[in-house]
C-alpha cells in the first residue's frame, strides 16, 4: 500500500541547495509563519532560525519558544553555561520579532509534558492566523517534539469544518550533525514510558483484553545504553530488531555502534544479526518506508498469533527520529522513550570545528504538496 510520504518533499542544505526554498514556497504573506523551537544547551538550536532570519525572513514571522525544564542544580556546569549563552543569543536574535513563549508545564510524569504543550499549540485560538508552521526539532527533546508534530498532523488531517482543523503548511526542520549527536550524553535515565499521544497504540487493551507479541525496533545511536536497557525492561519484547545508520557520513558508524552496544544488543537482548535493519542516516523517509515494511512483514508472519505490536524508540539523530515518528503516525505504532533529566556534551570536542558539519534539513509533511 502506498504510504503518505512515499513521495516526499525534503531540502538538505548543500553548496547548491537550501531549505530556504521550501520556506519561501510554503509562506503565505497574508498569514503568519510560526517557527516553533526550543533553546537549550544544544549548539544546533539556533542554526535554523538564524538561517531563516538572515536569508529570507517571512513578512509575518512569529517565534513560538517552547520553554524547556531548567537543568538540575547538580548538572554539568559547562552544559549549563552553553544553555545560558544560547538563551542570550536567542534574545538578541529575536529582539525585533514577535515571540510567543509556552512555559514548560508542571507535571507528575515527565512524559505528559509533551502532550500538554501539543494541546496548547493546536488550540484553535493559537493557530487562528497561522498559515505556515515550521517545527525546529534541533534543540527539543523527542518527548516534546513527537507529540507536537503528531498533534499538528492530526489537526491537519481533521475535516475542514472541525474547529481544530489546521489548514496551513507544516514543515519540520532539523540541524543535522551526527558528530554532535555522538558528543551528547543523557543523564539521569532510569525509567521508560510510552510517549504521550502513542499510548493507545501500545495499550490497545493489552492490560484489559490480553496481550500479544511485542517486537521492538530501537534506532541505535551513541551513548544510549541506559535508555536501551530502561526501554527493554519496560517493553520486555519478544524480539528486537535494532536499526543502524547506513549509509552514513561516517561509513563505519554502524560498526562502531555495534561495538559500543554489543553487551546490550547481543548479551542482554539476544539480538540475532539477521534482525538488524539499516537505514539511510540522512533521509528520514528511508527509515519511514523500512519500518512500515517491517511492520507489514511481522504482521504477515505472525498472523496466526495474537496481535503483534511493533514498538519503536529513537536514540539516534534527529532525522532518523523523524522517520520513526512518521512510521508511527501512519501505522499507529507506539513510540517508547526513557526521558533524560539532564545532558552533558563532551568537553573534549572542538565545537567550532565540529559545527562545520552542521546541515539544516527541512521536510514538508502536510499542506500544499499533499493536497
Amino acid at each position: 500500500m502506498k504510504g503518505r510520504w512515499d513521495d516526499y518533499v525534503m531540502a538538505i542544505e548543500s553548496h547548491d541547495a537550501s531549505p530556504t526554498e521550501l520556506w519561501d514556497a510554503a509562506c503565505d504573506p497574508a498569514l503568519s509563519t510560526l517557527w516553533i523551537m526550543g533553546v537549550g544547551f544544544d549548539p544546533r538550536g539556533l542554526v535554523g532560525v538564524q538561517q531563516l532570519m538572515s536569508v529570507t525572513s517571512p513578512p509575518r514571522l512569529e517565534i513560538c519558544l517552547l520553554e524547556l525544564p531548567p537543568p538540575s542544580a547538580g548538572s554539568d556546569p559547562a552544559t549549563r553555561t552553553m544553555a545560558t549563552d544560547n538563551a542570550e543569543m536567542f534574545r538578541q536574535l529575536t529582539e525585533h520579532t514577535t515571540v510567543r513563549s509556552l512555559p514548560y508545564p508542571s507535571v507528575h510524569e515527565p512524559i505528559n509534558a509533551g502532550p500538554q504543550i501539543a494541546r496548547d499549540i493546536t488550540d484553535p485560538s493559537f493557530l487562528s492566523d497561522v498559515g505556515h508552521v515550521i517545527v525546529d526539532i534541533s534543540s527539543l527533546p523527542s518527548t516534546v517534539y513527537f507529540p507536537v508534530i503528531t498533534s499538528l498532523l492530526r489537526a491537519a488531517d481533521l475535516p475542514v469544518d472541525h474547529p481544530a482543523h489546521f489548514r496551513g503548511e507544516l514543515q519540520v526542520v532539523a540541524c543535522e550533525n551526527p558528530a554532535i549527536d555522538a558528543a551528547i550524553t543523557e543523564q539521569g535515565v532510569d525509567a521508560a514510558a510510552v510517549v504521550g499521544g502513542f499510548r493507545s497504540a501500545f495499550d490497545k487493551g493489552a492490560q484489559a483484553a490480553g496481550s500479544g507479541t511485542t517486537i521492538w525496533a530501537p534506532t541505535i545511536g551513541e551513548n544510549c545504553g541506559p535508555s536501551l536497557q530502561a526501554i527493554h525492561a519496560f517493553l520486555d519484547p519478544d524480539d528486537t530488531t535494532p536499526v543502524l545508520p547506513f549509509p552514513a557520513r561516517h561509513p563505519r558508524r554502524a560498526d562502531q555502534l555495534i561495538l559500543e552496544h554489543q553487551l546490550e544488543l547481543f548479551e542482554l537482548f539476544q539480538v540475532t544479526t539477521t534482525n538488524i535493519i539499516y537505514a539511510d542516516e540522512g533521509n528520514p523517509f528511508d527509515l519511514y518506508r523500512t519500518l512500515r515494511r517491517v511492520k507489514r512483514d511481522y504482521e504477515h508472519a505472525l498472523a496466526p498469533l495474537p496481535p503483534t505490536t511493533l514498538a519503536l524508540s529513537a536514540h539516534s539523530s534527529k532525522l532518523l527520529s523523524l522517520g520513526v515518528l512518521l512510521a508511527a503516525y501512519e501505522e499507529g505504532l507506539p513510540i517508547v522513550a526513557a526521558p533524560a533529566r539532564d545532558y552533558t556534551i563532551d568537553s573534549a570536542i572542538d565545537l567550532d570545528e565540529v559545527s562545520r558539519g552542521n546541515r539544516v534539513v527541512c521536510t514538508w509533511l502536510a499542506g500544499e504538496p499533499f493536497s
Binding site: 547538580g74 548538572s75 510524569e109 501539543a118 484553535p124 503528531t150 498533534s151 532510569d190 548479551e267 533529566r341
Partner: protein, 651 residues
C-alpha cells in the same frame, strides 16, 4: 552475536517470560523471607530496587504455582515450601495470585485537568478493571480454559439480594466474564483517550469513576468457572507502589488495610529513607491490620523471629540461585559438573603470584624497623617468621598495626614481652581483613575474588548479584570458546570485579536522577574512608565504608521549610533520596550509638572495589548535616575514569 547464552543476563523476573525458566531458577529459600500471616491482612513488602520483591511475588502468581504443582520432581524444594504454607498441594492450587503493576498510567491521571475527587475515582475504577481482568485471565488459565475465548464461563459469586454486592457488580460490568471484560475495555479506552489527547478538543468528558475498590470485596465472595466454584482464595499483588503519587498511595493503602476484605492483598514498594513512608499509623496496628516486611533488613539480619529466615541465610539463597542459573549451560558448553561459584578460585596464596617471598621479606623488614629490636614484640615477630605465603603477608601487616596501636598506649611500669596469645586477643577478623586489603592495595595484588566475596559484593541484592555473576560467566565463556576449563583464577576475577565496580560508578550520573550530586556524596564518603584507613593504627577495622547523621537532623532535612531556607539542603535531600532509591547507598534508620540515634549510610558494596575499600559493614564516621550540605554545594563531581586493564591471555 555470541553462540553462547549467558544465563545471568536474562536477569529480572519480568524479562524471564518463560514460567518454567523463572521457576527453575528461583531460590526456594527466599520464600521464608515472608512471615506466616499474609492471607488475612495487608502485607507490605519494601526493599531497595533489585532486592527481589517482584520475583518473590511472581512465585505466587497462578502460572508459577500451577507449574510448580505439575512439575514437582523439578521443583521439589519450592513445592515443599508452598505446600507448608497451604498455597498448593498435589492436586490443587489454593491461591489465585495475580500481579498488578502500579507503574502504568496511574500517576499520569494526575496530569489530566480533573478535580482531585474525580481523579481519585478514576484511579480506583482503572484499578478495579485491571484487577478483575487479571483475575478472569488467571481463573481461566488455572482451569485450563482459554482467554478470552472462554471468558463467558467466568462468574463472580455473590450473596443474592445483598444490596452492596448488587450495586458493586453493577459498577464493574456485572458478575459474568463477558460483562466484566466489556466494561474493562470501555474503561481502558476512555482513560487512554484522555491520557493520549493531543488536541485540546479531545479533552472533553471524563468517565465516571469508583468511590471504592469494589473488586476486592467482590472477589472475596468467590469465583465460579462454568458450574464449578473455584476452591482458591484470590490474591492481588500490587507491584511498584512507589510509582504512585503520594495521594494515590494513601488512597490505595487505605482500601487495602480493611480487615473485612476476604481477598488476600500484597503491596510492594521501593524503600525510601527520606520520606514519611514509615509512618503507617493510619493503617492501624502493625501485626493485626498489616504486616510490614523490609526485605533488605530480612536479607541482612534475618527475619524478626530469627527462626524462619536466619541471619546469613540470604547468602545461601544467592548461592542457590547462581547454581540453578548456570548448571545447565556449564554442563552443555563445557561438560562441567562443578557449580558456578566453585569455579571461582578461592586460594589466597594465589593472590601473591610469584612475588610472595619478596613481599614477606619487605614486610618483615618494615616490622623489624618499627619494633626497633624491642624485646616486647619478639614473640609476635617470631610467630610471623614461622608463617608462609599469604598467611605470613597478612600476619606481618596485622602485627604492624598491633605494634602501632601498642605504642600509642600509656606505657606500663614494667614493659613485658607480649605473647602471641596477646596478639590474638588484641586482634580480630576485622583487623585481619583490613590488613589483607591494605597489603593488596599497597602491592597491587588481586584481592576481590572467590565465591564468598562475590556474594558479599551483591549487597544482599539479587539483581546486582546476577549482574556480577553475568560478568564472571562472560569471562568463563572466553575459556569455553578456547576449549579450556572455565575456571577463573583470582587475578582474572579481581579484574572483572574491579571493572564491574568501575562501570557501576561511571553509570551513576547516567542512570540516576541527581546522579552527579550522588557521585559527590559517594566521593566524600570515600574520602572519609580513605583518610581513616590510612592511619597506621587502623582505628576502624576493616575500614570505614559509611557515614551517618543524627535522626534528629534527618527529621530536619525532611521538613520542606528547612530545605527552603537552607541553601543546598534541597540538593542534599534529592541526592540522598535518589542514592537510596537506586541502591547506591543503603540507609539504616534508628541505629543506636552511645545514646544517640543515627541514620547510617553505607556505600553499596559493589562500589568498594573501585576505591579499594573493605566489604565488611559496621564502620562509619558520623557527620553533621551542615557538613553534608557542603558536600553537594561544591562543584559537581566529575568521575575520573580508571584506565581499562588489559591482560594477555595465553591462547
Amino acid at each position: 552475536m555470541s553462540v553462547y547464552v549467558n544465563p545471568f543476563y536474562a536477569r529480572s523476573s519480568e524479562q524471564m517470560s518463560e514460567v518454567s525458566q523463572y521457576v527453575q531458577t528461583f531460590g526456594a529459600g527466599a520464600l521464608d523471607m515472608l512471615p506466616d500471616q499474609v492471607w488475612d491482612r495487608l502485607l507490605i513488602l519494601r526493599s531497595s530496587p533489585g532486592a527481589g520483591k517482584t520475583s518473590l511475588m511472581r512465585m505466587f502468581a497462578v502460572d508459577s504455582l500451577n507449574w510448580v504443582r505439575t512439575n514437582v520432581k523439578t521443583t521439589e524444594p519450592i513445592f515443599k515450601e508452598l505446600s507448608e504454607r497451604g498455597v498448593i498441594d498435589a492436586n490443587h492450587v489454593h491461591k489465585l495470585g495475580v500481579m498488578i503493576n502500579l507503574d502504568r498510567d496511574y500517576r499520569s491521571l494526575l496530569d489530566l485537568p480533573l478535580s482531585k475527587e474525580i481523579g481519585d475515582r478514576l484511579f480506583l475504577r482503572l484499578l478495579d478493571v485491571r484487577i478483575l481482568v487479571a483475575m478472569v485471565r488467571a481463573a481461566l488459565r488455572l482451569t485450563g480454559r482459554r482467554y478470552p475465548d472462554d471468558v463467558d464461563e467466568f462468574q463472580l459469586l455473590g450473596s443474592p439480594g445483598d444490596p452492596y454486592v448488587d450495586a458493586a457488580l453493577e459498577r464493574v460490568g456485572g458478575p459474568g466474564g463477558v460483562g466484566i471484560l466489556a466494561y474493562a475495555r470501555e474503561t481502558e479506552h476512555e482513560v487512554l483517550r484522555l491520557l493520549d489527547a493531543l488536541l485540546s478538543t479531545d479533552m472533553k468528558g471524563a468517565p465516571e469513576g469508583h468511590s471504592e475498590l469494589y473488586s476486592l470485596q467482590l472477589l472475596s465472595k468467590g469465583i465460579a468457572i462454568g458450574s464449578e466454584q473455584l476452591n482458591a482464595q484470590a490474591l492481588v499483588m500490587f507491584d511498584d507502589g512507589h510509582k504512585l503519587a503520594s495521594t494515590q498511595r494513601a488512597l490505595i493503602l487505605d482500601h487495602l488495610r480493611r480487615r473485612d476484605v476476604g481477598t488476600a492483598r500484597w503491596y510492594a514498594e521501593r524503600f525510601e529513607a527520606l520520606s514519611d513512608q514509615e509512618l503507617l499509623s493510619s493503617l492501624g496496628e502493625a501485626g493485626r491490620d498489616h504486616v510490614l516486611v523490609n526485605l533488605d533488613d530480612v536479607a541482612r539480619n534475618g527475619s524478626p523471629d530469627s527462626r524462619r529466615f536466619q541471619r546469613g541465610r540470604h547468602d545461601r539463597v544467592l548461592e542457590d540461585i547462581a547454581r540453578r542459573r548456570a548448571t545447565r549451560q556449564l554442563a552443555s558448553y563445557a561438560d562441567e559438573t562443578q557449580d558456578f561459584l566453585a569455579l571461582l578460585e578461592d586460594d589466597t596464596d594465589a593472590m601473591l603470584g610469584d612475588e610472595g617471598e619478596d613481599l614477606v621479606q619487605r614486610l618483615h623488614a618494615r616490622v623489624e624497623r618499627l619494633s626497633d629490636d624491642n624485646p616486647r614484640y619478639a614473640a609476635w615477630i617470631a610467630d610471623c617468621r614461622d608463617r608462609t605465603g599469604w598467611d605470613a603477608v597478612v600476619r606481618w601487616r596485622e602485627i604492624e598495626v598491633l605494634i602501632n596501636r601498642d605504642r600509642n598506649r600509656q606505657p606500663s611500669l614494667f614493659e613485658e614481652q607480649l605473647s602471641t596469645a596477646e596478639a590474638d586477643a588484641r586482634s580480630n577478623t576485622s583487623i585481619r581483613e583490613g590488613a589483607a586489603l591494605a597489603v593488596a592495595k599497597e602491592f597491587d595484588l588481586p584481592y576481590y575474588g572467590g565465591s564468598s566475596t562475590v556474594v558479599r559484593l551483591a549487597s544482599h541484592n539479587v539483581e546486582q548479584f546476577l549482574n556480577l555473576c553475568g560478568d564472571l560467566f562472560a569471562e568463563m565463556l572466553v575459556d569455553i570458546s578456547l576449549g579450556r576449563r572455565p575456571y577463573l583464577q583470582l587475578r582474572r576475577q579481581h579484574r572483572v570485579i574491579r571493572d564491574a565496580s568501575e562501570r557501576f560508578w561511571e553509570a551513576i550520573p547516567r542512570t540516576v536522577h541527581h546522579g552527579r550530586d550522588v557521585q559527590s556524596l559517594v566521593s566524600e564518603i570515600v574520602r572519609i574512608a580513605q583518610k581513616e584507613d590510612a592511619k597506621p593504627t587502623m582505628p576502624y577495622p576493616p575500614g570505614v565504608t559509611g557515614t551517618a547523621i543524627l535522626m534528629g537532623e534527618r527529621a530536619r532535612l525532611l521538613q520542606p521549610e528547612y530545605r527552603e531556607r537552607t541553601p543546598g539542603a534541597e540538593r542534599l535531600f534529592n541526592a540522598l533520596a535518589s542514592a537510596v532509591a537506586h541502591n547506591i547507598i543503603t540507609a539504616e534508620l534508628d541505629y543506636s550509638v552511645k545514646g544517640n540515634r543515627y541514620m547510617v549510610l553505607y556505600l553499596n558494596r559493589l562500589l568498594c572495589p573501585r576505591f579499594y575499600l573493605p566489604l565488611g559493614y559496621g564502620s562509619f564516621r558520623e557527620r553533621r548535616l551542615s557538613e553534608m550540605i557542603g558536600w553537594v554545594q561544591r562543584l559537581p563531581a566529575h568521575g575520573a575514569v580508571r584506565p581499562a586493564q588489559t591482560e594477555q591471555l595465553p591462547v
